[in-house]
Amino acid sequence: MTSLDILLIIVRVAFGAFVPLCFVAVCVWMERRGAAFFQDRSGPNRANIMGFRAGGLIQNLADAVKLFFKEDIIPGHIKHKFYFVLAPMIVCVTALVSFAVVPFADTLVLGDREYVMQAIPMDIGILWFLAIAGFAVYGIILAGWSSHNKYGVLGGLRSAAQVISYEIPMGLAIISLLVVYGTVNLSEMAQFQGQLLFGFIPMWGVLLQPLGVIIFIIAAFAEANRTPFDLAEGESEIVAGYHVEYSGMKFTIFFMGEYVAMFTSSAIIVTLYFGGYQIPWFNTATLLKFAVPVALLVMAAVPVIGKFVAAWIRKNNVSHYDRENDPRVREANVYIKIVWGLVILVEAIFFLYLVFASGGAADHILVALLQVCTFLAKTTFMCFVYVWVRWTLPRFRYDQLQKLGWNILLPLSLLNIFVTSAIVVALS
């Protein structure tokens, strides 16, 4: 095992572990500011460090500090303290681990070695996700039961019934997907989606499985306990459901687990149906072939994007009331300088690449970086969809939820398997 091998293992595991955690902050921020903008409010925008609000991101820091320093309470009536403490950990860890099989770039070829860009390179792929994600419900049931609280138990029960109902359509949707892709390996699935349908349409899962994607997304929302399927914590009827007795750091871990699960299922949806890390019309081979023109294109695009971002900051980062010597304008000046600094940095890196390193291993690394960016962009957008749906749709009633799962999604997914198989058989 060379030092390069070890380095890449560290890089991949670090990506798999830290990116979801970083995205917790991003998702929470997106949720709160997004919710505000959907509702014509401004959302959290007061917390600041030396006058810098970072668009509200500092609020997350303040919340985190508050939660860290809260007293760690285990209510006196709780008999099974071990399970009570274990529950949030299960929720968070399962969400994190299930991200481990998601490929965030195409197989990296360095010299004569190939590196599968997953945190844990293994072949079982989607089965791992199904297996681990199903575990998360144990955390919720355990939390509800060990809380020794009516609302907690009800929340746990609801969650268990919901997960059972929606695992089935989800699994069946994946079966029809497997029929199309002919593999369970997520890397291979992503590579499959790099092809072109009829020579000009990217062969993404969403086009091959239009019904399957709807079923899967609905089921994924239900699995992640997000609105409109968040009955497990229906605050209007069961206060906060399974985490009613949790506070401080244990609640934080639940909270983080929820957002990691959201990020992970976004990543899975992107990988299965939206081409994963693939840039449309530019699969890995194409990108490698045209590495230099692509680099030049990026170099041209980055200042343009920088200009738009700067203009947006200039316009929106001001106080909307009479204020002498507006500190938010000074704040905006700093942000704009940072944006342009980043633009110059990117330009410099590409310039150095073009002058010194084009061709060879650097091309592969460049392509991998582009794909990572693409993957993260797609996943972020999918997270945004989660937020978007949450602030658009009201919560289902419980019977409606079960009816949707069993009466509609289950037959539809069976039909989907049937039709897909028929077409695949007919075409082969």
Binding site: F37, D40, R41, I214, K315, N316, S319, R323, W388, W391
Partner: protein, 174 residues
């Protein structure tokens, strides 16, 4: 004579609506329009930048109470207990005593309003036969660090001046 019956048209029976998904996308389009508008120009948010920008208080606003005085500074209140009698929250506590300034015979020696119990209904103002208590201070944010600081004594209530001119207050419907 029959009762007036308004028939409400039931929505949600057409196939397009029962498919639900199309309606979901329609709804998402609506919310996204809001998002985009606010995202691109956040000056369009329907937000008051409180506390920098204070809300405009009208003379009819029922703010914190005050006790009014005659021109010479003597209290208008004669301790008739009408406000205490009418108070639905029982937050007014009065003790009456002899008046010595020659106006009438009776004056409160204690006039406490517990703002923690007050529900700001304004019945005390309406009940007052002497226009001695008003809620025209324009104080809408009542805060304190201690319970005791939320108890307004007679001196506190007399010290606050009204936020409006007499004409404005009268025009406000008082």
């Amino acid at each position: 004579m029959s009762i007036k019956v308004k028939t409400i048209v039931r929505q949600g029976k057409s196939l397009q609506e029962r498919l639900y998904l199309i309606e979901v996308f329609k709804g998402m389009a609506v919310t996204f329009r809001h998002f985009l508008r606010n995202f691109l120009d956040n000056s369009k948010l329907y937000v008051r930048h409180y506390p920098e920008v204070k809300p405009e208080i009208t003379p009819r606003w029922r703010g914190r109470h005050r006790l009014t005085t005659h021109e010479d500074g003597s209290m208008k209140c004669v301790a008739c207990f009408m406000c205490q009698t009418n108070c639905p929250a029982k937050c007014i506590q009065i003790e009456a005593g002899e008046r010595t300034d020659g106006r009438t015979e009776k004056v409160p020696v204690k006039f406490d309003i517990d703002l923690l119990e007050c529900i700001y209904c304004g019945y005390c103002v309406e009940a007052c036969p002497k226009d001695a208590i008003r809620m025209d201070t324009g104080i809408f944010s009542v805060t304190g660090y201690k319970r005791e600081s939320m108890l307004m004594t007679m001196d506190d209530l007399l010290a606050t001046k009204g936020a409006f001119s007499e004409e404005e207050y009268k025009k406000g419907g008082a």
